[in-house]
């Protein structure tokens, strides 16, 4: 599980330093498994018992612990927590960014604007309800004393952004906002000092600032959640390597390896770098790289790549390329650049703003010129222009989209889906074709034993398989356990990479491996030296809800395809079980990308669901990408949405939520548009009063927020 729930991602460890009043935290660790008060106490007690730890404070919301322990290495903390039964991971430096300070400043501004708005509003109520002459003047002056400093402080972000846009000779939404706020303030000051006898706009300027700041805060919370999700994903995999130094193994961070180092790779380890095997033989699981579900054998002289998993034998590997130079890292970088291209996708809000900003200026200027020409009264014309600007100002528009995406993202997070990209929801809503990868996505990537083999044979096979980490061996050992069969006692078990296992049982030599009698098909054979042979059939294990998810998607009218790098037989079998018509086997990563691009060029909006390195390209070029939490980190960083629960029903769920969210965004934009259509003529005609503007502004902002919060039907 991950920490930053999008709803409460406004907080960040950097801010929480106030907790550790005396010291900066020396380490921030990620605790993926904590979930209750007992976990908090357990973690804090374990750390505090360690000599040298001055302070430890768990943040359950972010699932992190901050430790003040000067001079103590992070690994010591991680080991201590492991002894106490808590999994802890080092967080990358990205997590220490002070991005939270920004959110805190924004919240303070919201607080100031809200306070000033309420006070000025109370004073304005008195004026609206008939206070006149000296009282009205006094109230205006008091309002000015509150509103001017409050606006100057609270609306600073809008002024800064508007200035930046004007310098670059562009118009953004902040230009009309700043103009409205400044004009309203200046005109109201003139009124307060007796130059004019129109009504004051102080409350409107403050209400505008307040609602727009709320919209901006929600928008930033979404971005922050995306960033902290990325930091977290980086933390999930902090690869380590066993480097051989003068014949001794030392555990080092994979990024410190250099070309020419000798490293040792044990069964079950994922290779930390590209290299050549110098010693040992092993079956290599390359599913993450190629999608092939059957392991391949590699021996001295063979090249191995970062991301492959060593299954059966101990290897010594000479590093050829490490760190950023590995094929895996280069691919991840490629993905990062193509991802930034996708970030140019303009969401609904951007498109609306592009049309809206010039329109507002034109309307305001037209109102001023029209009224000045008709009446020759400068103050009155200015008053009408301000009312047009204030009323058209996109309070509701500023809230319309971020409110919906914040609510939807936090609902998805609670359902185990981590939305990483800001425009992901809008892109997901446009999807019409869903493409699945097979190995690791539709299947768990782990084979299981099928059929009902002979019990005695299974017992011997399980005895042989017990110590091996080859997926076939594990499947057999697991099947024996599930059937309640005790593994037989086997002597002298040896594992021969690429061949299988060998051992003695009751005086006979048994062999478990791929080779068996000619002419009969089986995944694994158990054979004895005197001619006994028992076949075992293995099949890929479909994820529990794969069939359900595919059926739901089909029922909702999505086109579904299966692209796999695996052999045609295995692919056809899965496609048939799930009822997928378009199934392509033996696809190289390039083939997959070409296929997805061709579909995209033909007008289809493709969603890629995949987990391997061979899917990474597709995840990046497709209109949107989803990866299971178990995916390779390159795939996870290319995807827009991560299925933290690993359940495939998250895919239809995400698509459904995205469609609802997009509908809500459109409704909200239509709502604020409708409100403008009604109010602009009133303002242009000169009938809009500050009172009317205050009511309209509050109700429209409230309407869009409530519409965003509405539960799904």
């Amino acid at each position: 599980m991950t920490a930053a729930c999008p709803a409460c991602a406004g907080v960040d460890p950097a801010e929480a330093r106030a907790d550790l009043s005396t010291v900066e935290p020396d380490a921030i660790l990620h605790l993926p498994d904590i979930h209750c008060a007992a976990c908090i106490a357990g973690v804090e007690d374990a750390l505090m018992a360690l000599p040298g730890v001055r302070e430890a404070r768990v943040n359950l919301t972010l699932r992190r612990v901050q430790v003040a322990a000067p001079g103590l290495p992070e690994t010591a903390l991680i080991d201590t927590l492991a002894d106490a039964g808590f999994r802890a991971q080092r967080l990358g430096d990205a997590a220490r960014d002070r991005q939270g300070a920004e959110a805190q400043a924004l919240l303070t501004r919201i607080g100031v604007a809200g306070f000033a708005m309420m006070n000025v509003m109370l004073l304005s109520v008195a004026v609206w309800s008939g206070a006149a002459e000296t009282t009205a003047r006094l109230f205006h002056l008091v309002s000015a004393a509150i509103a001017v400093p409050a606006t100057v402080y609270a609306a600073r972000p809008f002024f800064v952004s508007a200035l930046g846009a004007l310098r670059g000779r562009r118009l953004n939404m902040d230009v009309p906002i700043s103009l409205a706020i400044i004009l309203a303030l200046l005109a109201s000051l003139a009124i307060a000092f007796g130059f004019s006898h129109e009504q004051g706009w102080f409350d409107a300027a403050l209400a505008l600032t307040f609602f727009l700041l709320v919209g901006r805060y929600l928008d930033q919370a979404g971005r922050r959640a995306a960033r902290s999700a990325a930091a977290e994903l980086a933390a999930l995999e902090a690869p380590q390597a066993r480097r051989l130094e003068a014949g001794e193994e030392r555990i080092v961070a994979a990024e410190t390896l250099v070309s020419g180092d000798l490293i040792r790779v044990r069964p079950g380890d994922r290779l930390p770098a590209d290299g050549t095997i110098t010693l040992g033989r092993s079956d290599m699981d390359r599913a993450a790289l190629t999608g092939e579900s059957a392991p391949e054998t590699a021996g001295p002289g063979d090249a191995v790549r970062a991301g492959e998993t060593c299954l059966t034998g101990m290897l010594t590997v000479r590093v050829d390329r490490a760190g950023r130079d590995t094929g895996l890292a280069r691919l991840a970088e490629l993905v990062a650049t193509s991802e930034s291209q996708r970030s140019r996708y303009a969401g609904i809000a951007d498109r609306a703003a592009r049309f809206y900003a010039p329109a507002v200026h034109l309307l305001g200027a037209a109102a001023f010129l029209g009224w000045f020409w008709a009446t020759r009264e400068g103050w009155h014309a200015l008053d009408v222009a301000i009312s047009v600007l204030v009323i058209t100002c996109p309070c509701a528009l500023g809230l319309a989209v971020p409110a919906v995406s914040t609510v939807s993202t936090s609902r998805l997070y609670r359902a185990g889906l981590l939305v990483k990209s800001r425009t992901a929801l809008e892109r997901l809503a446009e999807i019409d074709t869903v493409v699945f990868d097979k190995t690791g996505t539709l299947t768990t990537g782990v084979p299981v034993l099928t059929g009902s083999p002979d019990r005695a044979a299974l017992s011997i096979a399980a005895g042989l398989a017990e110590g091996s980490s080859h997926p076939a061996s594990r499947a057999i050992a697991e099947a024996a356990r599930a059937r309640g069969i005790a593994p037989a006692a086997i002597e002298d078990v040896t594992e021969i990479a690429g061949q299988g296992l060998e051992g003695r049982h009751e005086g006979r030599l048994w062999r478990l491996g791929r080779n068996g009698p000619e002419g009969r098909e089986a995944s694994v054979w158990l054979t004895s030296d005197d001619g006994d042979a028992h076949p075992f059939m293995l099949a890929e294990d479909l994820r529990e809800d794969a069939a359900q998810a595919v059926a739901t998607l089909r029922a909702q009218g999505y086109a579904i395809a299966l692209l796999s790098g695996d052999a045609p037989g295995a692919v056809a079998h899965i496609a048939e079980t799930l009822g997928i018509d378009t199934a392509l086997a033996r696809m190289t990563p390039e083939d997959k990308v070409a296929w997805v691009e061709a579909r995209g060029a033909a007008g289809a909006r493709v969603l890629m669901v995949g987990d391997g390195l061979n899917d990474t390209g597709c995840l990046a070029v497709a209109h949107a990408g989803i990866a299971p939490g178990s995916a390779l980190d390159a795939a996870r960083s290319a995807a827009d949405v991560i299925l933290l629960s690993g359940k495939l029903d998250g895919v239809p769920h995400a698509l459904r939520t995205a469609r609802t969210a997009r509908a809500r965004m459109k409704q909200n934009i239509a709502l604020s548009g409708a409100y403008n259509i009604v109010s602009i003529p009133i303002a242009l005609a000169g009938f809009a009063t500050p009172f009317l503007a205050a009511i309209a502004m509050s109700t429209s902002s409230l309407t869009v927020t409530l519409n965003a919060m509405r539960r799904d039907p």
Binding site: A37, F115, L138
Partner: protein
Amino acid sequence: MNVLVFLIPVSVTLGLLGLGAFVWSLRAGQYDDPAGDQARALSDRYDDAPPPPRD
């Protein structure tokens, strides 16, 4: 209407107090870990004695 001379400063001061309280709670990190505070509030670990001071 002379009463306004007192009432307006009083109301503004009260409002400022509220604002100050909000800013203080924000700075003190009270919104940093809502889930954790929720869990800690029900923990009876330090009911009898406060945690031992550390040097």
